[in-house]
Amino acid sequence: MSGPSTYVPKSALGRWFESRLPIAGLIHGSFIAYPTPRNLNYWWTFGGILSFMLVAQIVTGIVLTMHYTPHVDLAFASVESIMRDVNWGWFLRYAHSNGASMFFVAVYIHMFRGVYYGSYKAPREVLWILGVIIYLLMMATGFLGYTLPWGQMSFWGATVITNFFTAIPLVGDAITTWLWGGYSVGNPTLNRFFALHYLLPFMIAGVVVLHVWALHVVGQNNPDGIEIKNVNRDAVAFTPYATIKDSFALVCFLILYAWFVFQVPNYLGHADNYIEANPLSTPAHIVPEWYYLPFYAILRAIPSKLGGVIAMFGSIAILAFLPWLDTSRVRSGKYRPMFKIFFWAFILCCLGLGYLGSMPAEGGYVIAARLLTTYYFGFFIIILPLLGIFETPKPVPASIADAVLARNGGAAAQPAE
């Protein structure tokens, strides 16, 4: 599919350059002539949206660092000066902080789409695992960035998260002291978090390159989960078809993003983070950013410190094993009647855990969190392996073209050429 490029530059200079560094051919082969399945729906536009969000976060982030001071005595005031004094500072900061949330909105949709349509199945296991790595790096970057304003939630969030490492037997305390550069979260911690928050997005960009590379080796999955068999019948060129569709979806997404930035810029934040960090007083109710809430609920559902930390990290790590936990030979959930039910229950389970993560850890909330944590792990460890054995899938069309033609008016599929 992504074989040797047939791209031929039109100008003599272009040919001269292409024979020395074939970058124009690479771009042409990857984003213009690249054959994309003709049945892709709008759930497939989130890869492009995520690329945009990464660039948006890097650009707004770099300009914010020109005004930010990573010091415990100055950080909070420097963020306030960005809000009040710096030209357009309020816009840059709100775009960056809400951009992180929109980045996670897009990545969650992208991931659930991958689960529903079986995008992790052979031959796309490495593509999927690279995606899990990007997601992990995003979580780390988001956490480090949330510490920088040095408000109460920044400080106590950083304290709780770094304390996860004290759960490690024997060396836990030494590792935590090493992470802090002291005996509690303090100035050395803030400084290194700032350095790492600047570094990680570029590591994400690097893994994104690998992710796109792996995608272009194995080709895109699609809603019917059938490989492209005949490029002329099953595929359309990336440009203009995918380019325009992605652009339209991006514009719709930007409307939502802009609504948050301009209308409710603090809706996804927490009021306590406008109080400067105070190491002697913990806010009555600390919660992480919304995109970590399901994992926070899992952490608190386990009545043991080490167990909770293991369950929380395990709930993310288990994603990397998904290609081998799902034993069904049918790729797309579209043709898996029982999988569909468990999938939507899994979505509700994740939303439920998110809600419980924002509630205090007491009484009925803890019991509900335990039930949903059980379903979360059960979905991966019990339901997916067994479904492949017990489920009777619906017949899968012979080709993408057949699937599309059958959908559009039920016309009989053309015989294969």
Binding site: W156, T159, V160, T162, N163, F164, T166, T177, W178, L179, W180, G181, G182, Y183, S184, G186, P188, R192, P279, L280, S281, T282, P283, A284, H285, I286, R300, P303, S304, K305, L306, G308, P360, A361, E362
Partner: protein, 175 residues
């Protein structure tokens, strides 16, 4: 002599392994400062111990002082609180320690005010001290008793007792 089927290691094999080993040691030697720089620096380590005047702490209340960037609770316990702390059977405690092991003078309890779960500062204001009259951690619901021992919730250990000594009846040295 060795049989013809075994190949004698040559001088080249030795040099190859020795070079590789020297390279590994070199990488390790350079990695060490890069990792060690993240540990607490000299100024953090040099943070001196502090002296605290405890004459102003009324019976039944708690003073919070900052030591090594962390809060330390100095609690002037009432006879009722001391009684509560000493009368609990050890079998009921998740992290069994007698009250005697945790205090130098029964009326003064000195503990680091960091929840042993995930590092929040437990609340000790009168009226919100939890079911055991000690401290209540707002983050994940751990409850401590009047000896700073964990009684219920996710925290695995009792509140840490720092190194301290009484310089006089009203002066305390922490650290």
């Amino acid at each position: 002599m060795a049989t013809s089927s075994t190949v004698e290691p040559t001088r080249r094999d030795f040099l190859f392994i020795a070079t590789g080993a020297a390279g590994a040691v070199g990488v390790g030697a350079v990695a060490w400062p890069l990792i060690s720089q993240m540990n607490p620096d000299a100024s953090t380590l040099a943070m001196a111990s502090i002296e605290v005047d405890i004459s102003a702490v009324p019976l039944g209340s708690i003073m919070t002082v900052k030591w090594r960037g962390k809060p330390v609770f100095v609690r002037h316990r009432t006879p009722k609180e001391i009684q509560e702390a000493t009368s609990v059977p050890l079998a009921e405690l998740p992290d069994p320690e007698t009250d005697k092991q945790r205090v130098q003078k029964p009326e003064w309890l000195v503990v680091v005010g960091i929840c042993t779960h995930l590092g929040c500062v437990p609340i000790g204001q009168a009226g919100s001290r939890g079911d055991y009259d000690g401290w209540f951690c707002p983050c994940h619901g751990s409850q401590y008793d009047t000896s700073g021992r964990i009684r219920r919730g996710p925290a695995p250990k009792n509140l840490e007792v720092p190194t301290y000594s009484f310089l006089s009846d009203t002066k305390l040295k922490i650290g």
